[in-house]
Amino acid sequence: MSDNESKESPPIVIANPWERLRAFTDARIGLGRAGISLPTHQLLAFQLAHAQAQDAVHCPLECDALASELTTALSLSQTPIHVHSHAADRAMYLQRPDYGRRLNDDSREKLQQAAESGQRFDLAVVIVDGLSALAVQQNSAPFLTALYRAFEHDQWEWQLAPLTIVEQGRVAIGDEVGALLNADAVLVMIGERPGLSSPDSLGLYMTWAPEVGLKDDRRNCISNVRPAGLKPEEAARRLLLLLVEARQRQLSGVQLKDRSEDNVLEGASGGSPQNFLVAD
């Protein structure tokens, strides 16, 4: 095609004049269009992201590497206890959420032994692969470092149960672990379902008085902990607020949320709370 022709014929792909807004969000805005459809390169970029997210679901957690990383980073006196849910493998995990909520027999015994002394703890921290081992692998050490630091500065002393790492687990498995370890509260750190732009998002779930069979209304959740999302320090700060409130009121879940979470997120766009669409 000659220059002359390209000037005369309208472009096949129409770019969006607001494309530069992409600097302010990970959302797939300003993609442009061929007619009203996605341009080829955007179509393929999406397919690649979807392929990567599907792979993240199936990638296994490297438990030993994570355990030694945490032992060093947190100066643990005891290496984390490694346990496994009732779901034998990923295929079973995906189809039987009930299996992912319960420990297998060996794991239950292991935790019973660990709790033989009968000592009570203020909190059990349970790391669970969930739907993204990548999230757990990448975010556990930074988040727990921040959380342990927050505990040190808190008015209360926090007696922590031995750290646990669970394979093929769902959120509710933390309740069984927490109960077996004689903990007043349990924190589950779990890999959330991977998104296209965020295959590495960690979710935090806190339950007061954990026991097998509790429902979601007894849990409080903080989501999207990852480098490009909620930062570990901020997540730790908010979790501690929840924990302190739970300890004072001896409860968690729906009844707790109103008081403990009434903070407004200011977002990440350089501290500009101004909505450019309505600025005059």
């Binding site: 530069r20 996605l38 039987r96 998104g195 209304d217 109103d258 997120l265 990440a268 500009s272 909505n275």
Partner: protein
């Protein structure tokens, strides 16, 4: 005492212990029913169950309730509000006859609308189990459900979209950028609706104000909604926040809804509170509900019912409170409940059909998660089928990627595809606005403006100078 149903096929005798088991075994296969242990044990058993179900009189569902009246306020709602006069023309029919009647030329849009108060969710679920996908689409298209707030949703030949500008940290500039992108692709007539990253009252009010400012400044004939818990929205109303629509996820059993932290009286209170604000201009439908097969099983509150029957019962909850929009979030729950594209597609069509038959303004979040066996092609198929069936609205999100909820739904581009290929239009008030704002150069031929419309070009000048996003 629950009745036992049985029949003989060839040399084999089949027994179904009670209506719940018969309904469950008659259901097209899906992983959630397998998980619940209520699925048919063979393909033959499924069809036999369908044959037995087809012979049941519709009156069975009024006498043999699936969840006891004393134990469940939704059963009470269904039975207490059943309209015998509206049911009179259907009273003599079996479930199989009911399918024929729905497909027949007798069942015009007006006749179907008149019959609604006589049809229970269980009747709708039962007949859907006998219907092929094309039956579900054909009958749903005849069921017209129109609602209104600042525009009119559900008119024939229209397909509306919820603009869903979610952001993982509720960042104002990020959300505003997605809203702009959506508006300039013609999205947002059903609602501009944000799932907040942090679910509390203060955060919700901040997002309500953000959307209200945009709607007011550009005089957009649409409504906003923050998808936070109903009790949070009630508190926001008390604090004077600009609430257009009240949101709540709902299920089809009392125990499901209790696990979500509300009951019917909470919804009644919320509808009344939103009505007092009187913010609608062309109508007074102030509720936005979301549903989805599998939620009752997930909450261990399904009473041994199949997931599609539970879902249909949720529409009894919805229609009680005159919603503007009801959205079945069909693929969000994951492969434990709907395993792959085929199961998601079937469920989407069932939900849309049952909702419309019961008189609910049904839209669909045509979606999937990354751990499901589904992809964009499955979504293209379901979107097209729903467009054919007269679905009230679908989602619109930048590039199909919800960066907060981590799943894929239909994009702004996808909605324009559906409108173009099926000749569907936005809500009339919104369509006029799109033309007035020069977002389309020609609305009737779905041609977008290649240039930035003047009103929005001006706004872009107010962008923060530097992109301070950490990457």
């Amino acid at each position: 005492m629950a009745q036992t149903y049985h029949t003989t096929v060839g040399s084999r005798r089949y027994r179904f212990k009670g209506l719940a088991e018969l309904m469950a075994k008659a259901t097209p296969p899906r992983s959630g029913d397998r998980l619940a242990g209520v699925i048919a044990e063979s393909a033959e058993e499924r069809v036999v169950a369908q044959m037995v179900l087809a012979e049941l009189p519709l009156t069975t569902f009024l006498n043999d309730v699936l969840i006891p009246y004393e134990k469940d306020e939704i059963t009470r709602l269904i039975i207490d509000e059943h309209d015998a006069a509206a049911f009179a023309p259907l009273k003599h029919l079996t479930v199989g006859d009911f399918r024929n009647w729905l497909l027949s030329d007798h069942a015009t849009s007006d006749v179907l609308a008149a019959a609604r108060p006589g049809i229970t969710p269980e009747m709708a679920a039962a007949v859907s189990k006998l219907m092929r996908n094309q039956d579900l689409m054909l009958v749903a298209k005849k069921c017209q459900v129109t609602t209104a707030f600042r525009n009119t949703i559900g008119l024939p030949g229209r397909l509306s979209t919820r603009l869903q500008p979610n952001h993982p940290t509720d960042d104002v500039t990020g959300i505003a950028a997605s809203i702009l992108d959506g508006l300039l692709y013609g999205s947002g007539d059903a609602v501009i609706g944000i799932n907040p990253a942090t679910d509390n009252v203060a955060q919700s009010i901040k997002l309500m104000r953000l959307m209200d400012d945009v709607i007011q400044k550009y005089e957009i004939p649409t409504q906003s909604c923050v998808l936070t818990h109903v009790t949070n929205t009630l508190e926001a109303i008390e604090q004077g926040a600009p609430v257009d629509l009240v949101f709540q996820s709902i299920g089809g059993t009392e125990a499901t809804n209790r696990s979500f932290g509300f009951d019917l009286s909470t919804l009644a209170e919320a509808e009344a509170a939103a009505q007092t604000l009187d913010r609608g201009t062309v109508g007074r439908n102030v509720m936005y509900f979301e549903t989805g097969q599998g939620s009752s099983l997930s909450a261990d509150a399904h009473h041994g019912l199949d997931q599609q029957t539970c879902e249909s019962r949720a529409y009894a909850v919805a229609r009680k409170f005159n919603p503007l929009l009801v959205n079945t979030v069909v693929g969000f729950i994951g492969p434990e409940y709907l395993y792959d594209g085929k199961e998601i597609t079937r469920a989407g069509l069932e939900d849309h059909f049952c909702g419309k038959l019961l008189g609910v303004p049904m839209g669909c979040d045509v979606c999937y998660t990354n751990h499901a066996e589904a992809d964009q092609n499955d979504m293209d198929n379901l979107l097209t089928l729903l467009g054919v069936a007269g679905c009230s609205f679908v989602m619109g999100i930048p590039g199909s990627d919800d960066i907060m909820l981590n799943y894929q739904t239909t994009s702004f581009h996808d909605a324009l595809y559906a409108r173009r290929v099926l000749g569907l239009k936005a809500a009339p008030e919104f369509e006029q606005w799109l033309a007035k704002m020069q977002i389309f150069q020609d609305v009737s031929s779905y041609r977008l403006n290649d240039q930035l419309p003047a009103a929005f070009a001006n706004s872009l000048r107010h962008l923060p100078k530097e992109a301070a996003r950490d990457v």
